[in-house]
Subunit: 147 residues, 2 copies
């Protein structure tokens, strides 16, 4: 092995640990299985280089993984996530493509905006539920104190 493997072999690794990671480094950091990471590579979402037979993940892969998991938390499919995070790197060169790109951006923005509205509605509804709940709680405690 050559990257993080033991608990005591970390000292002289710090200089380049900021840019290279084993599959286990990332799996531990983000609390996913190695299977998941390999699956994401298979889907073209991560592109680690190979050193011998092993995968070496770059800082860019790590950032992408973070974006993937964020997208998952928001309920996007991996296909949608690919579309989104590819926009971070893509940046087409032609004017026509660029304009089409801006349209896609706008659609994603609208999608996210809808989710944001959904969340805010849910949050305010939970506020209402909580208010009713706390009211009943104090009522019950008062009733108990009265008897």
């Amino acid at each position: 092995m050559f990257l993080s493997q033991g608990a005591h072999a970390c000292a002289d690794r710090k200089d380049f640990m900021a840019s290279e990671y084993t599959i286990r480094d990332l799996a531990s950091e983000f609390e996913v299985t190695t299977r998941t990471i390999r699956f994401y590579e298979d889907q073209g979402l991560l592109m680690p280089e190979r050193r011998g037979q092993h995968r070496i993940f770059s800082l860019r892969d790590r950032i992408r993984l973070r974006l993937i998991l964020r997208g998952k938390r928001l309920g996007f499919s991996l296909a949608e996530i690919r579309e989104i995070i590819d926009m971070y790197d893509e940046q087409p060169g032609e004017v026509g493509q660029l304009e089409h790109f801006l349209e896609k951006l706008e659609m994603r923005r609208a999608d996210l905006q809808e989710k944001l509205n959904d969340i805010e509605m849910t949050l305010s509804e939970l506020d209402a539920v909580e208010a009713v709940c706390r009211q009943r709680l104090t009522d019950m405690k008062k009733g108990k104190a009265a008897e």
Copy 2:
């Protein structure tokens, strides 16, 4: 049939159409299949009454369906959605249960808050991408105008 089925049989239906719906009414309104609605009933998320062999959905069912679909847009599983919308009706009677209920509420709130943060990060990143993109676009048009 007795509820919405033809295009011309609507006139004398309006008085009680606000509180009763066929499966097709809801499917059309929310753009889901009847299969989906039956599946949600099967999962205990909707509880239509039966009139003869047919399902009759109440206003409460309709509201629940709206909540279900909102939950889905936010990436919640049906199990999570059940937990959430059950909180709208549940409201336990015991003090201990009520306190536990408030804890669950708090967890849901934290979950939603995380999603909200995720969305806002993504939105601001898309802002940045768009800014770069628009900059390049004007640059390219300037370059084209110069030659």
